[in-house]
């Protein structure tokens, strides 16, 4: 392993920028993601910084089943995130559509149709600790030795 890769690994393990996008949920999961910011869970002690800018994000949290406006825009947001990147589905909605995947709905789940999802956190809504745990366990898998893993 090159020395450059080692430095990159160290830096990446302690600096994860998270961006979240709500593609049509009841915003219950939204506020649970926000609750991770609270000093009780203290997401920043793990070096995770939550903000909402896809251009400098590493992890994209996708919340909600996909509404008509997001069908084309979700892919755009995914393309704007620089490599290496990972998308995590939060809640039941991006996985299956939850209660919205029924007759008469305007949504078109799942999110996997639009962007690749690396991890899923089921729950309606999942607890902040579960969200935190998912980010912490999936990020190292993708970011460690990223350049060497490239073909």
């Amino acid at each position: 392993m090159s020395i450059l890769q080692k430095i990159k690994n160290t830096v990446r393990s302690r600096s994860i920028h998270v961006s979240y996008v709500d593609v049509g949920s009841c915003n219950g999961c939204d506020i649970e993601v926000l609750a991770c910011l609270a000093p009780r869970y203290d997401i920043e002690q793990y070096g995770i910084y939550v903000h909402n800018n896809p251009r400098e994000a590493d992890v994209l949290l996708v919340i909600g089943s996909v509404t008509p406006q997001w069908v084309d825009k979700l892919r755009d947001i995914w393309d704007k995130i620089p490599e290496p990147k990972v998308a995590v589905a939060i809640g039941n909605c991006p996985i299956s559509g939850c209660v919205y995947a029924r007759r008469g709905t305007l949504t078109s789940p799942p999110v996997e149709k639009y962007i690749p999802i690396a991890a899923q956190v089921p729950g309606c809504p999942p607890r902040p600790t579960e969200i935190l745990n998912a980010i912490l366990s999936v990020a190292p898998l993708i970011f460690k030795d990223y350049e060497e893993k490239q073909p």
Binding site: P68, Q69, D72, K73, D76, D79, K80, L106
Partner: protein
């Protein structure tokens, strides 16, 4: 990559108007204006933004409760109702129609003058 994106919102705006309460409100407004529902829907979708469409029903309700107290001509035309509560007609046009109608009430019967004023409002809405 696209930097500017404007999506066709007409289908989504129509979806808003299909809700039970909104549909009732649109029908009531169309009846008040004396035009067909479909034409009014077209105008609404073209002129209003989505938030105003969502709020159509409660604005219509408040308009009926609070708009145009006192003046019979303004009440007949819906002066405040169609400029401030449901902004279908701009204020200057409405002011012209209002003064025309007020002048007409001196010459012809009140009801007929109001009917002519309403005709002008319809034209302004459809223009």
């Amino acid at each position: 990559m696209k930097y500017l994106y404007e999506k066709d919102l007409r289908q989504m705006k129509y979806n808003i108007l299909t809700s039970t309460k909104h549909d009732e409100a649109v029908r009531a407004i169309a009846e008040r204006l004396g035009m067909s529902d479909a034409k009014l829907r077209m105008v609404l979708i073209r002129r209003f933004d989505m938030s105003l469409l969502e709020n159509l029903e409660s604005r219509w309700q408040m308009g009926q409760r609070h708009a145009d107290d006192g003046d019979p001509v303004a009440k007949g035309l819906g002066y405040e109702l169609f400029t401030r509560f449901i902004p279908l007609v701009d204020t200057e046009t409405m002011q012209t129609i209002y003064s025309d109608t007020t002048a007409m009430t001196q010459e012809i019967p009140f009801d007929e003058a109001i009917a002519r004023g309403k005709e002008q409002i319809r034209e302004a809405v459809l223009s």
